[in-house]
Structures are given as structure tokens and as C-alpha cells.
């Protein structure tokens, strides 16, 4: 059997460092995902509003997010705005801002889609029971919308987690960067580490994303 180069990870604190890097990636994505879900719900409701100007602004925002590559957004926020406006923004905050900016827009669009897919009669029957607008959303519309949202938003969440690998481009040492460092440091002694270490990184991403998919499947079944 060829040498896969996994042994490198057992040298010194290498594996621990890799896990620390993973935590950085998970932390950035968890915070961004939480912000995206919370504000995305609000954004989605606003997107169904009848106000034309509001709708146009939100539409423009969504289009910007769709068109701009995440990496460009990261560069603009971390290198660009800090220089132009002179504020001091850490790389991690920049990453969270960019990821939330992206997540809120896409989540909002998913929420909008889910909301307009709820038949009008659901609103009507809630009103016929004498419910207020907020009650209607809270008790009748959102629970149904959330069920439709689960598969779509899981897709977005896992995509956000995977895309955190880009943040190393603005100097954040997350799991992929640590992996690179480990491989570089051991280039002479174990050149095969390039396979083993990246394979382990792949496995780590899998271990993070897979339970989320599983949870989604479970929730979908439970709420069906």
C-alpha cells in the first residue's frame, strides 16, 4: 500500500492545530448562518411586501449578492473598506459580514419563495378565526413555510460552510490554511502528506455537513 502521508498529522500538535482551524471555520459559518436565518426571515417577509420601492431596493441587494463572487466581496470589505473609511476591521469580522451579507440575501429569497407558495386560503382561514397579522404569520404561515424551507436552506448552509475555505485569502488561518501549513512544513520528509492531509480535511468538512443534512431529513419527516 502506498504511503498516504497521514502520519504527518500525528507529529507534534498537528492534528490539534487542524481541529483548531476547523473551529475557526465552523465559528465563522455558525455565526453567519445564525444571522442569515434571523435576518433572512425578516428579509423574506419584506420581499413579499407590496411597497414597490422597498421591493426594488431588496431586489437590487439580492442581485448584487448573486453577481459578486464571495471572494471579491471579502477583498472589498477587508482590504477596500478598511482603507477607504479607515476603520479597523479584523479579518474574522470581515468574513462574518460578507457571509451574512450573502446569507441574508439568499435566505430572504428562499423565505420569499416559501411564503408565496402558501395558499391564500391559509391567510383567509387565520383571519376568519380572528387572528391578527403577526399571529397569522407566527402560528399559521411560518410553521408551514419553515417546513418548505428546510431542504433549501440546508443547501445554503452547507454551501456557506464550504465557502469559508475562501477566508484564508484574507489571512484567516482556518482548517484549509492549517492543512497547507502542515503540508509545506513537511514537504521534504513526507511529500505524500499533500494527499493524506487534504483527505482528512475533506473528511472533517464531511463530518460537519453530514449531521446537518441528517438533521434536515429528520426535521422534514417530523414536520411533514
Amino acid at each position: 500500500m502506498p504511503n498516504l502521508g497521514i502520519d504527518v498529522l500525528f507529529k507534534g500538535t498537528n492534528f490539534l492545530r487542524l481541529l483548531e482551524g476547523l473551529w475557526v471555520a465552523v465559528r465563522i459559518s455558525l455565526i453567519s448562518v445564525a444571522i442569515s436565518i434571523a435576518l433572512g426571515l425578516v428579509m423574506g417577509m419584506l420581499m413579499t411586501s407590496k411597497n414597490k420601492i422597498l421591493k426594488m431596493i431588496l431586489r437590487l441587494y439580492l442581485e448584487i449578492v448573486r453577481i459578486m463572487p464571495q471572494m471579491v466581496l471579502l477583498f472589498v470589505v477587508y482590504f477596500g473598506t478598511t482603507r477607504v473609511f479607515g476603520w479597523n476591521l479584523s479579518a474574522e469580522y470581515s468574513a462574518i459580514i460578507v457571509f451574512s451579507f450573502w446569507g441574508v440575501a439568499e435566505m430572504g429569497d428562499l423565505v420569499r419563495g416559501a411564503l408565496i407558495s402558501i395558499p391564500k386560503i391559509q391567510y383567509e382561514s387565520a383571519q376568519a378565526l380572528g387572528m391578527t397579522q403577526p399571529m397569522t404569520y407566527l402560528y399559521v404561515i411560518l410553521p408551514q413555510a419553515v417546513r418548505r424551507l428546510i431542504p433549501l436552506s440546508i443547501n445554503l448552509i452547507t454551501r456557506m460552510i464550504k465557502t469559508t475555505s475562501l477566508v484564508m485569502m484574507i489571512g484567516i488561518v482556518e482548517v484549509l490554511k492549517v492543512a497547507q501549513q502542515i503540508i509545506e512544513a513537511n514537504r521534504r520528509t513526507s511529500p505524500n502528506a499533500v494527499f493524506g492531509v487534504f483527505a482528512v480535511v475533506f473528511l472533517l468538512y464531511f463530518l460537519i455537513c453530514w449531521p446537518i443534512s441528517k438533521l434536515a431529513g429528520y426535521l422534514e419527516k417530523r414536520w411533514a
Binding site: 386560503i121 391559509q122 383567509e124 382561514s125 383571519q127 376568519a128 378565526l129 380572528g130 387572528m131 391578527t132 399571529m135 402560528y139 399559521v140 410553521p143 408551514q144 417546513r147 414536520w223 411533514a224
Partner: protein
């Protein structure tokens, strides 16, 4: 003649569709006396759903008035209307239960909205479920029930608010003839014991024949005929009523064959 409980005057409603406008209601005036079971019949597109939605202002008419028990609904504030609606129950063709909650929770739901304490809520809900004959299904979820059972849950839920009016929007149209009969009998029983004025929207003469005391015939947004159900069924004057009765007869014939 008794005094009108629900009084509709010159009600008009026009929708703008892609290819022009649709006149859903054309100056409809009718009065529904208290404690009647009033049927409104018409083919699809006759405007009957719009009309019943105007009775609790789920649809705002373009012109005309809706007076219930002497109160002009169109003059009420949003909040007053919301409270008034709690006393105008409505059931639908597709039941519209909360799928993620049990039968009992569904019936408790309107009481929860009104802020009734948990214990009283449960007591009342159980009693209502008993009334509709579903006390053994309290813990079940709507997905585990048949269509007829779901409609009975919807009826129990609507009764939780002690309505004085019950609007039925094609409430039996998704059910088979057997189950339709059961639901109609239940509605009749509710009417007899609780003295609720019931308005039934349907496209089936059978439904009218079964329980309605008075009826109105709608065709393309205008009122064709209105009066005692017995009278109209025996001796329909308008073309639309005659046609609807004919449909019923052919339906019965096919029932024999099937």
C-alpha cells in the same frame, strides 16, 4: 317574515384579471333571517365564494353594505372587525387545520388566541370534540384522519369561539356522498341545539335539499332567485335554478349506474 340578521345591500365586487376585469358580484342584495340554514348555490364562477367572503370581509366589496345584527361591518375598525370575526365562524373545502398540531391543539387554538387559560381551553375543546364525535381522536394528527373527520375537527374548532354565524364555503365538496351526509347532519344538529345561523355555499343541489330552509341562486355574479328552499326546489323560476336542478337529476341517474 323575521327580521334580517345578515343584510347585504347592493354588493358589488370587480376583480382585475390579466384580460380585462371580472365582475364577481353585481349589486347583490339579500337578507338572511336569524336561525336559518341559508344555502347559496351556483356553478363555479358564479361569485358565491366571493359573496361569502364579503360576509366576514375577507374580501372588501367595491360598493354596498354588509350589516350583521344591525352592525355595518364596513364601518368597523381593523381591530373591531377582528373581534367580530371571532363570532362569525367559517369552514372551508380543504379544512385548513394546523397539520403540525394534534386534533385537540387545533380545537384549543382559537381559545388560545383569545387568551383563555389552558385548563378551561382543554375542557371546552374536549367537550366540543365529543359533540362532533371525535373525542377518541384528540391525540391524533390531522394527517391520520379521513376527510370527514378533518371537517369535523374544523367544525369543533370553529365552535370554540361560540359563533352566532357559521359560514360554510363548499364545506362538503371534497367529501364523498356518505360523508357529506354525516357532515350535513352534524351541521343541522349544531343549528338545532345551538341556534346558530348557517350560511352554506355549494354547487350541489343535494346539499341544499338536505338541510337548507332558505336559498339563493347565483349566476355570473347576479342574484337569480331567492326564497324558501322548498319553494324553489319544487318550482324554480329562474333559468339558472332550473339548470342546477337538472344537473342534480343527471347526477342521480349516474349514481344509479355507478
Amino acid at each position: 317574515m323575521e327580521t334580517a340578521y345578515i343584510e347585504v345591500q347592493k354588493l358589488s365586487k370587480t376583480y382585475s384579471a390579466k384580460n380585462g376585469t371580472v365582475e364577481a358580484l353585481k349589486e347583490i342584495s339579500l337578507s338572511i333571517p336569524q336561525n336559518e340554514i341559508f344555502g347559496i348555490i351556483g356553478l363555479s364562477g358564479a361569485g358565491k365564494s366571493t359573496l361569502v367572503r364579503c360576509l366576514n370581509l375577507l374580501e372588501k366589496p367595491d360598493s354596498g353594505t354588509v350589516i350583521i345584527n344591525g352592525e355595518d361591518l364596513l364601518t368597523l375598525s381593523k381591530e373591531q372587525l377582528r373581534i367580530r370575526r371571532q363570532k362569525i365562524g367559517m369552514i372551508f373545502q380543504h379544512f385548513n387545520l394546523l397539520e403540525q398540531q394534534t386534533v385537540l391543539e387545533n380545537v384549543c387554538f382559537p381559545l388560545e388566541i383569545r387568551g383563555i387559560p389552558v385548563k378551561q381551553r382543554k375542557e371546552k375543546a374536549l367537550q366540543l370534540l365529543k359533540q362532533v364525535g371525535l373525542e377518541d381522536k384528540a391525540k391524533a394528527y390531522p394527517s391520520q384522519l379521513s376527510g370527514g373527520q378533518k371537517q369535523r375537527v374544523a367544525i369543533a374548532r370553529v365552535l370554540a369561539n361560540d359563533p352566532d354565524i357559521l359560514l360554510c364555503d363548499e364545506a362538503t365538496s371534497a367529501l364523498d356522498p356518505e360523508t357529506t351526509k354525516i357532515i350535513l347532519n352534524l351541521l343541522k344538529e349544531i343549528h338545532d341545539t345551538m341556534g346558530i345561523t348557517i350560511v352554506i355555499i355549494t354547487h350541489e343541489m343535494k346539499v341544499i335539499q338536505e338541510i337548507c330552509t332558505q336559498m339563493a341562486v347565483l349566476h355570473k355574479g347576479s342574484l337569480q332567485e331567492c326564497g324558501s328552499a322548498e319553494e324553489i326546489l319544487k318550482n324554480p323560476k329562474s333559468k339558472a335554478a332550473k339548470r342546477l336542478l337538472m344537473i342534480k337529476e343527471t347526477e342521480e341517474e349516474t349514481d344509479y349506474v355507478g
